[in-house]
């Protein structure tokens, strides 16, 4: 009995994919999307439930503190808060389905707009962090796996151990202190220019200065957010490679005279990355959690920072909007990852 367990991913492929193996890719995706819809419904419902049981009268919160009882009553009536809970629930669900996330209690603006305007900053950060992670982690993992028990392997192991053990808010602060304040190399927060506008400037005026500014400002947040993932991917790559390198097909590839580069990257790394891909899909949640912290530390105007603001103000519609958006992102990314997995691994999509 051989069962693979991966505690970093906390989920092995057999539990996730075991029951899909018998399906074609098309069926598989349809089923996956249906599940995704269910998951999003679940998230919406849980958020609604949390809001319903949270202390404090929503009308009160909505009106800023200390409104008159009459005013509260009026708002309750207008907002349908006097309706039975199931009516409120279905109204809410209905709104979500047509993309109406409601209005922020704080700013009266549409939640969709408030979410959408913060998406670019978070995506920039997440993508930059992922790039940092991939560019560093994969070569590091490969080196570590192919030079086992040598100094470079020990170095990589130590690095990944530190990386997964360091809280990113502290790492962010230390980077601010050391690279920002003491060395003066990087600014310590904010996002004076977005990537989009910076590229636009480049296109219109040919001046890359905005791009440089953007790079300079995103450097520390991206490193902060990326460190955990760098460490995680290094770890997974190393152990996956070690496992994969011991497989007979590797020896067979060597025996037929294939250049080491091809053996290592075309065969072994490729096969290592397929399961890692699904692990990373499941880690999107961690990435978002990390983004909340990182954006807070670096005052980076993304969704995470807005979520914390919403939480501080107990602005439920905004909070719900952001959480549901994160869930949608999580589910979609995982469907894409699953499809990729099925595509890359011929054994899954086949009858």
């Amino acid at each position: 009995m051989k069962r693979k367990r991966d505690y970093q991913a906390l989920d092995s492929l057999d539990t996730v994919y075991g029951y899909y193996i018998q399906m074609t890719l098309g069926k598989f995706l349809v089923r996956r999307i249906l599940q995704g819809v269910f998951v999003i419904w679940g998230v919406i419902t849980i958020m609604f439930g949390l809001r319903a049981v949270s202390p404090g009268d929503p009308a009160n919160l909505m009106l800023a503190e200390g409104a008159t009882q009459a005013l509260v009553e009026q708002v309750r009536e207008e907002e349908g808060l006097n309706e039975p809970i199931y009516v409120q629930y279905f109204d809410y669900l209905q709104g979500m389905v047509v993309g109406d996330f409601g209005y922020s209690w704080q700013s009266n603006r549409e939640v969709e707009a408030m979410v959408i305007e913060r998406i670019p900053a978070t995506i920039e950060l997440a993508v930059a962090a992922t790039i940092v992670a991939i560019v560093i982690a994969i070569p590091l993992g490969v080196i570590s796996a192919t030079r086992r028990n040598q100094p470079s392997d020990y170095g990589a192991t130590l690095f990944s151990l530190l990386g997964i053990s360091t809280p990113n808010f502290w790492l962010g602060l230390m980077l601010i202190l050391i690279l920002g304040v003491w060395a003066g190399l990087f600014p310590t927060g904010r996002r004076p220019v977005g990537f989009g506008p910076a590229v636009l400037t480049l296109a219109q005026t040919g001046s890359p200065s905005d791009i440089f500014t953007w790079l300079k400002y995103i450097a520390l947040p991206a490193i902060t957010l990326g460190t955990y993932f760098t460490a995680l991917i290094t770890r997974l790559t190393r152990s996956g490679m070690v496992d994969e390198l011991g497989k007979p097909y590797v020896t067979a590839s060597q025996a037929k005279g294939l250049p080491a580069v091809l053996v290592r990257y075309k065969h072994v790394l490729r096969n290592t990355m397929i399961p890692i891909l699904t692990v990373l899909g499941l880690q999107i949640g961690t990435l978002m959690g990390g983004a909340v912290i990182t954006e807070t530390v670096f005052n980076w105007p993304g969704l995470g920072l807005r979520l914390i603001d919403a939480l501080d103000a107990r602005d439920w519609p905004l909070m719900q909007g952001i959480v549901v958006f994160i869930a949608i992102a999580f589910v979609s990314i995982n469907i894409v990852v699953d499809a990729l997995y099925a595509y890359l691994n011929p054994q899954v999509s086949d009858e």
Partner: protein
């Protein structure tokens, strides 16, 4: 007209594990003539596969070839390496162990190739069979395009090239011509619909088909020496016969040399010209098929043969020889005949490590056993409990139930002392 294609002298391969040094192959001599099929037979863990991998230079850390020479006859290679490695050249022979890893790597596929025991795990599950064969073809094509530069063969393909090839189709390693050749090869080994089958993945093949594909892959480079490491062990009996037939045919057609490794004496009997019997990292008896089967001297060979009830039944498996599989851990090995503790004819002489004696039969018949020159003498026999607790088998008692021989092989898996498996605990 026979000439040696490979001479192995005094080869020792060791594994340095945390449990200690494992002497997987010790002072091994071997001589393989062009065009013959040389068989190596022995129990699991006797060092057969490690020997093969040593020749292929596939020994990886913590393994290491600690001594010996592997002389390979190849005039082209001599010309190539003469300048860089004058010491490695002797006439038409080159000592492979004196060459750099790069040069040796360049010989794989083109000079030596190998087929493996388990075809299903020996193919990459995520690439099509055709692609993997084409890779092997491409290795050969590139080698013959630069016949005079072993260095160019290996260095032309870099990580940069690989990364480029993922974006630029023109940079792909495998050319269209190689794909076509791969299909031809599939056809050659008797795979129906080779064009379609080439685009299928390994898990879509049956075991026998995959083994055929693997043979095709090994043939891609038209190697001087094909090493077949237990090529039929993982297959059904009927398929086994087909594969052996195929090998036979191919050998007859191309006249290539085969080093066949197996624990199946039936296979040996059917295929081989020369045989080496391995035990505990040593070749204990070697010679022609007749020497070993009919004129064997070593009690171990006798045990092996005695345990096969019917040689004609190719599928028959080795019956176990009583006693423990020998430990190959250096600190647990004594400098004696390694078989003495299981040998029904062990004598005091056996406490010294025996040299290779010339034995009667062909010129090539050599045996590592004192019995070659000395008659068994019961008065000098070792007492039954000489090697400790477990009783040594007597000359006529081979039946000892309860002994199980680990069937797994592989150089990365040095034999361990069996550990008690308490019931109820799942591995």
């Amino acid at each position: 007209m026979t000439e040696d294609v490979l001479r192995v002298n005094d080869l020792s391969t060791r594994f340095f594990t945390t449990e200690g040094q494992v002497n997987a192959v010790s002072n091994l001599d071997l001589r393989i003539e062009r065009g013959e099929i040389f068989g190596i037979v022995g129990e699991s863990g006797s060092g057969k596969s490690v020997t093969a991998r040593s020749v292929m230079n596939l020994i990886e850390s913590p393994g290491e070839i600690t001594s010996g020479e592997i002389w390979y006859r190849n005039r082209d290679l001599v010309e190539d390496v003469e300048g860089d490695y004058p010491d490695a050249v002797d006439g038409e022979f080159v000592d492979l162990l004196a060459l750099s890893d790069d040069v040796r790597r360049s010989l794989r596929g083109t000079s030596f190739s190998m087929i493996f025991q388990d075809p299903e795990s020996s193919f990459n599950p995520t690439l099509t069979v055709g692609e993997q064969l084409a890779e092997a073809v491409e290795v050969q094509r590139r080698a013959s395009a630069n016949p005079r530069s072993t260095r160019a063969r290996t260095r032309e393909y870099s990580l940069g090239n690989y990364l480029l090839s993922t974006v630029l189709p023109s940079q792909r390693y495998v050319s269209e011509a190689s794909h076509e050749r791969a299909i031809e090869l599939l056809e050659l080994v008797g795979i129906p619909d080779p064009v379609e089958r080439a685009d299928e993945y390994p898990h879509e093949y049956s075991g026998g088909m995959l083994q055929r594909a693997m043979i095709a892959q090994a043939l891609a480079g038209e190697p001087d020496l094909l090493i077949a490491d237990e090529p039929t062990t993982a297959l059904d009996v009927t398929i086994q016969a087909q594969i052996l037939d195929l090998l036979d045919e191919l050998q007859a057609e191309t006249g290539m040399t085969i080093l066949l490794i197996t624990h199946n004496l039936g296979v040996i009997a059917r295929m081989c010209d020369q045989v080496g019997v391995m035990y505990a990292g040593e070749i204990v008896e070697r010679g022609t098929l007749e020497d070993v089967f009919d004129g064997h001297v070593h009690p171990y060979t006798e045990g092996l043969l005695g345990s096969v009830p019917d040689l004609e039944r190719a599928g028959g498996r080795l019956q176990p020889i009583p006693g423990n599989v020998p430990s190959l851990l250096d600190h647990e090995m004594d400098d004696r005949c390694q078989f003495a503790d299981r040998c029904p004819k062990a004598m005091e002489d056996c406490l010294e490590h025996p040299p290779e004696f010339d034995a009667p039969g062909s010129d090539h018949h050599e045996v590592r056993c004192v019995l070659t020159e000395t008659e068994y003498d019961e008065s000098r026999a070792l007492p039954a409990d000489y090697f400790g607790g477990k009783e040594r088998p007597t000359a006529d008692a081979y039946a000892d139930p309860g002994t199980d021989i680990d069937e797994s092989t592989g150089p990365g898996n040095p034999p361990r002392q069996p550990v008690d498996e308490p019931g109820g605990d799942r591995p």
